[in-house]
């Protein structure tokens, strides 16, 4: 459709043209024609770019307005398309879009289809939000900070109209906050101890329980027939994993062994010795069930600072190394051709201890890509699923604290680079490759572990969790997306290794 617009200046000419338009039946002023022409071009673009399904839906749903009022008619059509279509990548209009919602509520022409607008606003806001998140991450990767900043403002505006108590609104809020921090720096950090958050995360969802019970089952089986056993825990926290193992050892046929536990954790900042307190508590429990028990705490800020002599492993004991979400933290060291990397060093001394078993539990996600955009997209998918599964938890304040715990992980993945970024999650397939290359071979977890995990999930009763077996390892996921993977390993004896 073509409209030729001559620049008409004389008022008599304008009146003439207005009269002509009215005679033909159009209720439009010639002064408005320029804007109308632009809008028609926009409408044409939108119609051409939208899918046929959108158009057919549009054709059946639209309330038809009086087309003789051509200006408003084109405006209405355009606004209809803006709701049902994908985001046009015209950034100058992005912040307008969020405000358009308000305009449409007030414009009396739109009252008729306000109901339709309200029901689809939430879904479309979600789609817009995700698009904007991706665009923001992309612009950050390209170094366009200004654009990223304005997108963040737009997203925050969009969020005010959305439900942020659940679903995409909540997760997006955390990611927008993380992007904000990446650009503008840290602000309002919540001062809650990490181990307190960890405990609430343990209560709110089954991931840590699954990790503990599965690792314990593997350790129990590996310790069969041994009278002196030594467990090295890479992250003691409150020691919640160990009561169940102590009880299982107490009741094993033939009687309990002598159990030593070495717990590694960060140094306590006040006068307290947190590691020792946990050790005392575990010792009291062990004493009450007649298990001979000895505890040793090793305080270290980072796992790579721990040296094997600190663990005081004796050759007569069967050793189990237990790493719950700790190995990935070693992947951030700077590559140095002269020195082995942190992960190689640690895996090296683990091998030198000749453990009967090494239990490894890691997040089943790929958050260690170099490209920011890839990492961001992966993290958005992963944490959306985790937050989804958290919705099933009715227990407060566990749920709220668990969310803060996860928010810290999200911030680390999104905001930090270099050695500061410790949440370098890698999927099981990569760990298999890495551990295989450094001289470990996988141990199958067995049917007892699987049955126990399944039973644990039945008790947890939320219908979305699923346990799967993956080449001898177990994964726990939400609605067919695995979120955490547990595996067991043994060091291959030196003489059998062939270095290529």
């Amino acid at each position: 459709m073509e409209i030729e617009i001559d620049s008409v200046s004389s008022p008599s000419k304008v009146k003439e043209i207005d009269g002509l338009l009215a005679d033909v039946g159009y209720k439009v002023k010639s002064s408005e024609l320029h804007q109308v022409a632009q809008n028609i071009e926009r409408l044409e673009n939108v119609i051409v770019n939208s899918s046929s399904s959108d158009i057919s839906q549009f054709a059946s749903d639209t309330i038809h307005y009086d087309p003789s009022d051509i200006g408003n008619w084109v405006d209405n059509l355009l606004s209809e398309f803006d709701h049902t279509n994908s985001l046009p990548y015209d950034f100058s209009q992005l912040s307008d879009l969020a405000q358009d919602q308000h305009h449409h509520h007030h414009h009396h022409h739109h009252q008729n289809h306000q109901l339709k607008v309200v029901t689809t606003v939430e879904e479309d806001s979600a789609i817009k939000l995700i698009h904007m998140l991706m665009t923001c991450a992309d612009s950050l990767q390209r170094g366009n900070i200004q654009l990223a900043g304005s997108l963040i403002e737009g997203m925050q505006g969009l969020l005010t109209n959305m439900n942020t108590n659940s679903g995409i609104g909540k997760v997006a809020g955390y990611f927008i906050d993380a992007l904000n921090r990446r650009i503008f720096g840290q602000n309002n950090i919540i001062h809650i101890e990490n181990d307190v958050l960890y405990h609430h995360y343990y209560e709110a969802c089954p991931y840590l329980k699954f990790a503990h019970f599965t690792a314990n089952q593997a350790i129990l089986e590996a310790f069969n027939g041994h009278d002196c056993v030594h467990v090295i825990d890479f992250n003691l926290m409150h020691g919640l994993q160990w009561p169940a193992l102590i009880q299982a050892l107490a009741l094993r046929p033939g009687g309990p062994p002598f159990l030593r536990l070495t717990g590694i954790g960060p140094p306590s900042h006040d006068d307290r010795d947190n590691l020792r307190e946990i050790g005392l508590r575990l010792a009291e429990l062990a004493r009450s069930v007649n298990v001979r028990f000895a505890f040793r705490g090793v305080a270290a800020w980072r796992l790579e600072d721990v040296k094997p002599w600190m663990l005081q492993v004796s050759s007569k004991e069967a050793v189990a190394v237990n790493s719950i979400m700790q190995l990935h933290r070693l992947l951030g060291s700077e590559p140095d051709p002269n020195n082995p990397s942190a992960i190689e060093t640690v895996l090296g001394w683990i091998r030198s201890l000749n453990p009967k078993i090494m239990t490894v539990v890691e997040q089943e996600a790929n958050h260690n890509e170099d490209g920011f955009m890839d990492r961001f997209t992966e993290a958005l998918h992963y944490y959306s699923t985790v937050f989804d599964s958290l919705e099933a938890c009715p227990v407060e304040p566990d749920k709220a604290m668990a969310e803060i715990y996860l928010q810290r992980e999200i911030c680390n993945v999104v905001c930090c680079e270099g050695p500061a970024r410790v949440e370098r999650h890698e999927p099981l397939i990569k760990w298999r490759e890495r551990l295989g290359k450094t001289g470990f071979r996988p141990l199958h977890l067995g049917s007892n572990a699987f049955k126990q995990a399944s039973m644990l999930l039945t008790l947890f009763s939320a219908e979305g969790y699923c346990v799967e077996e993956n080449q001898g390892s177990l994964t726990l996921g939400w609605h067919s997306r695995p979120l955490i993977a547990a595996s067991a390993w043994q060091a291959v004896p030196e003489t059998l290794r062939f270095d290529h």
Binding site: G239, A248, A250, L251, R281, V395
Partner: protein, 170 residues
């Protein structure tokens, strides 16, 4: 007035006659359950959980027995286990808090949760389920130890096992 007095006396005499009748009846029935505690204990051991709860409300003697005699609860805990648990289990359970607590905190919610999902009311426990219950019980006991230390927020009910008690609607 005279009628009232006669009526009173009449009622008192009737009540005296009734109590003496009852005493004669008691002498006739030699058996009274509260005089035979070992039989009472054997009966209580065979009750299910809810019935035990009701039984503890009958009188002070029954209440004392159900609350303090852990062997009654031991039978309840392992009633549906295929093979009786080994002798080593008892000292461990006692050390961790006793059979009554094991039942209330672990066995009852686990049983009800499992039977919900399988729609079978009376079933046999597998060894795995027993072990899992004992492990959860041990974690509960450990968390109660922590209550004094103040490191973990101590709740009245053990928070680790709250997921068992809350019906979750998804």
């Amino acid at each position: 007035m005279v009628h009232h007095h006669h009526y009173h006396e009449y009622m008192q005499q009737k009540m005296r006659r009734n109590t003496s009748n009852q005493q004669q009846q008691n002498k006739r029935h030699k058996f009274f359950i509260n005089d035979n505690i070992d039989i009472l204990r054997e009966i209580l051991k065979r009750l299910d959980g809810p019935s035990l709860g009701v039984a503890s409300c009958v009188c002070r003697l029954w209440c004392n027995l159900t609350n303090n005699d852990d062997s009654i609860w031991e039978h309840l805990c392992f009633r549906h286990v295929l093979t009786p648990p080994p002798a080593t289990v008892r000292p461990v359970v006692v050390a961790l808090g006793g059979y009554k607590r094991l039942y209330m905190v672990c066995v009852r919610p686990v049983l009800s949760r499992l039977s919900e999902s399988e729609r079978v009311m009376k079933r046999v426990w597998t060894r795995h389920e027993v072990q899992l219950s004992l492990s959860l019980f041990c974690i509960d006991s450990y968390e109660r130890l922590a209550g004094g230390g103040g490191m973990i927020a101590s709740d009245a009910s053990p928070s680790s096992l709250m997921f068992l008690c809350n019906p979750i609607n998804v």
